[in-house]
C-alpha cells in the first residue's frame, strides 16, 4: 500500500508543479467574473445563469485535467525511460497502475475542492445562502465520475499508441455518454430488431456518466438528493472504475514495456 501512496504522491506533485490547473482555474474565474459583471435589467439577484456557466466551466476543466493528466502518465514514464528503474524496485505493475490511478484521482479531487469553493463563493455572493449539503453531493458525484474517466483513460493509455490518440478518444467517448447516454434507450425502442437489442445492450454496457451530472439540481436550487441514491450512484461509479482498472492491470501485465 505504501508503494501505491508513494506513486500517488508523485502524481499529485506533478499536477501542482504543472501550469494546467492554474491556467484553467484562472480562466474559469475570469469567465465567471466577466459574466457576473453583466447587468440584466438592473437586477443584481439574478444568479442561475452564472451558476450554470461556472459549473459548465468546472466540468470542462475537470475533464481536461483528468484526461490529459492520466493519458500521459504511463507513456511519459516509458518515453523518459523511468519506467524500468521504477519497476526494478520492489514495485509490481499493478501497484504502479493503482498508484497512478490514485494520484490522478486525488489530484482531480483537490482541483475540484478549489473549483467548488470558488463556485460556492460566487453563488453565495448573489444568493446569500450556501446549500453546503447539495454542493457536497454534487462535488462527490463529480469526483466519482472522474474516477471512472481516469480509469478509462489509464486503460486507453495502455492500448492506444500515443497519448494524443488516447486523449481524443476519451474526450469523444465521454462527451458522447454525457450528451446521449441518457437517451439511447428511447432511440432503441424506435428501432426494429435486432438493432433494438444491440443498442439496448450497448445502453446497459456503457458507464452512465450523466447520472453523476446533477448540475441542474444545483443551478435551480432543488432539495438535496437522498443519501441512498447518492450511495448507489457512487457504488455504480466505483464498480465501473474497478472494472476499467482490472482490465488495465491485465493489459499492463502482458504488455512488453521495452
Amino acid at each position: 500500500m505504501n508503494n501505491i501512496f508513494a506513486i500517488a504522491g508523485v502524481v499529485i506533485k506533478e499536477l501542482y508543479r504543472r501550469k494546467d490547473f492554474y491556467v484553467l482555474f484562472i480562466l474559469t474565474a475570469l469567465i465567471c467574473l466577466v459574466m457576473a459583471s453583466v447587468n440584466f435589467f438592473n437586477d443584481d439577484k439574478i444568479v442561475r445563469y452564472l451558476k450554470e456557466i461556472c459549473l459548465l466551466c468546472i466540468w470542462i476543466c475537470s475533464l481536461v485535467i483528468a484526461i490529459t493528466t492520466t493519458a500521459r502518465q504511463i507513456p511519459s514514464e516509458r518515453e523518459n525511460r523511468t519506467l524500468f528503474p521504477l519497476l526494478a524496485k520492489p514495485l509490481t505493475r499493478t501497484q504502479l497502475l493503482l498508484g497512478k490511478f490514485l494520484g490522478c484521482w486525488l489530484a482531480c479531487g483537490l482541483a475540484l475542492v478549489c473549483f467548488y469553493t470558488f463556485f460556492g463563493a460566487l453563488a453565495a455572493s448573489r444568493e446569500h445562502h450556501w446549500p453546503l449539503l447539495s454542493y457536497l453531493q454534487a462535488g462527490t458525484l463529480h469526483w466519482v465520475m472522474l474516477g471512472v474517466v481516469i480509469a478509462f483513460a489509464l486503460l486507453g493509455s495502455l492500448i492506444f499508441s500515443a497519448p494524443s490518440a488516447n486523449t481524443t478518444i476519451c474526450f469523444v467517448v465521454v462527451a458522447f455518454i454525457l450528451l446521449l447516454g441518457r437517451h439511447l434507450n428511447k432511440v432503441a425502442l424506435h428501432l426494429p430488431e435486432p438493432r433494438r437489442s444491440v443498442l439496448y445492450g450497448f445502453y446497459y454496457l456503457i458507464p452512465h456518466l450523466e447520472l453523476f451530472d446533477v448540475r441542474d439540481l444545483i443551478i435551480h436550487n432543488w432539495p438535496p438528493i437522498a443519501w441512498t441514491v447518492c450511495g448507489v450512484a457512487t457504488l455504480y461509479g466505483l464498480a465501473y472504475a474497478a472494472a476499467f482498472l482490472i482490465s488495465a492491470c491485465l493489459v499492463f501485465r502482458r504488455k512488453a514495456i521495452n
Binding site: 435589467f41 435551480h220 432539495p223
Partner: protein
C-alpha cells in the same frame, strides 16, 4: 542590367495594381450591405446572421429555466411544450400546447431510467409559482429567465415575442415597469410595425402607469397595424386581435364612450372563439348606454334652457 530591372518593374507594377485594387475595393466594401465593420455590435461582427439561429435556442433555454430544469429534450414528447409556457402564461401569444405537461418522461423504461430520475429535475414547476421550492410567495424568482431572454433579443432583434414576454414578467412579477417599457421601446425601434409590441406597451400604460389616453393611442395603432399585416392573411393572428379589440372595448366602456365601445365589441365578437360571452358584454353596454341616454333626457327636460 536589363534582367535586374525587369523584376523591379514587375514589383512596382504589382504595387500599383494592389493600391488601385485596394482603393476600388474599399469604396465597394463601404457600400456593401454585408459589411459587418459598420456594426458596433460585437456579436453581429463575430457571428453575422448566424446569430439568429441561436436566438431561438436561448428563448427555449429561458423556458427551461422557467421550469427549473424540468424540460423535454428532442428525444421526449414535446406536444405539451410547443408554445413555451412562459410565453403562454404571459398572455402575449396564443397557445398550441396539447397533452400532459407533467408526464412527458412517461413511465421508466428500465432501472437506469428509473434511477436517473432521482438525479435530475423530474417534477413540473413554474418559477412564478415558486419553482423548485414551491414557495408561492417567491414568484420574483422568475427573474432568472431574464438573462436568456435578453441574450435572445441581442441575437435576433426581430423576434418580437422576446420583447413582449420579457416585458410582461418584468412588470408583473419583478415590479420593473421602467425597464419593461424601455425594453419594449427598444423592440419597437427594431420592429416599428409590430402590433404585438404596441399592444404590450399599451398594457404598460394602462395597467402600470394608469395613463388611459396613451394606452388607447397605442392600442388603436396596434389595431391599424394588425389590419394592414394580418387581415389579408388566410390564417390571421386572431389571438392578438381579440386581445387588442377587447382591451380597447373595455377601456371605452370604462370611460363611458359606449358607442365606440360597441363598435370595438362587434369587431371583437366577429373573431372571438366565444362570441356568446362577448354578446353578454354588448348587452351590458347597451343597457348602460340606454340608461345613460335616459339620464341625459331627464336632465335636459329638467333644464330646458341648456343646450343638449
Amino acid at each position: 542590367m536589363r534582367s535586374a530591372r525587369l523584376p523591379l518593374l514587375i514589383l512596382i507594377a504589382l504595387l500599383v495594381l494592389c493600391c488601385g485594387l485596394a482603393a476600388w475595393l474599399d469604396l465597394w466594401f463601404q457600400g456593401w450591405q454585408g459589411n459587418r465593420a459598420e456594426s458596433a455590435d460585437l456579436l453581429n461582427v463575430l457571428m453575422g446572421d448566424s446569430r439568429r439561429m441561436f436566438a431561438n435556442h436561448f428563448f427555449v433555454k429561458a423556458d427551461a429555466y422557467f421550469h427549473s430544469g424540468f424540460y423535454p429534450t428532442v428525444f421526449d414528447n414535446r406536444e405539451a411544450f410547443q408554445t413555451p409556457h412562459m410565453a403562454e402564461d404571459s398572455g402575449t401569444v396564443g397557445g398550441r400546447n396539447r397533452g400532459d405537461e407533467t408526464g412527458f418522461l412517461g413511465k421508466p423504461r428500465d432501472w437506469i431510467d428509473a434511477f436517473s430520475r432521482q438525479l435530475f429535475p423530474s417534477r413540473h414547476t413554474h418559477l412564478d409559482e415558486g419553482g423548485a421550492s414551491g414557495d408561492l410567495g417567491n414568484s420574483s424568482q422568475v427573474r432568472e429567465i431574464m438573462p436568456w431572454l435578453r441574450t435572445s433579443a441581442e441575437l435576433n432583434p426581430n423576434d418580437i415575442r422576446t420583447y413582449t414576454v420579457s416585458a410582461y414578467w418584468l412588470r408583473e412579477r419583478m415590479g420593473k415597469v421602467a425597464e419593461a417599457e424601455q425594453f419594449l421601446r427598444e423592440g419597437l425601434r427594431a420592429n416599428p410595425d409590430s402590433y404585438e409590441i404596441m399592444y404590450e406597451l399599451g398594457r404598460v400604460y394602462s395597467e402600470n402607469k394608469h395613463d388611459e389616453t396613451h394606452a388607447r393611442n397605442l392600442w388603436q395603432a396596434a389595431l391599424r397595424e394588425w389590419g394592414k399585416q394580418e387581415a389579408p392573411k388566410a390564417d390571421p393572428d386572431k389571438f392578438l386581435f381579440v386581445e387588442i379589440a377587447s382591451h380597447l372595448a373595455l377601456l371605452e366602456t370604462k370611460q363611458g364612450n359606449y358607442r365606440q365601445a360597441l363598435a370595438y365589441m362587434e369587431r371583437w365578437k366577429a373573431r372571438s372563439p366565444s362570441p356568446a360571452a362577448v354578446e353578454r358584454y354588448i348587452e351590458e353596454v347597451r343597457r348602460k348606454m340606454s340608461s345613460a341616454d335616459q339620464t341625459h333626457t331627464d336632465q335636459s327636460s329638467q333644464n330646458p334652457g341648456k343646450a343638449p
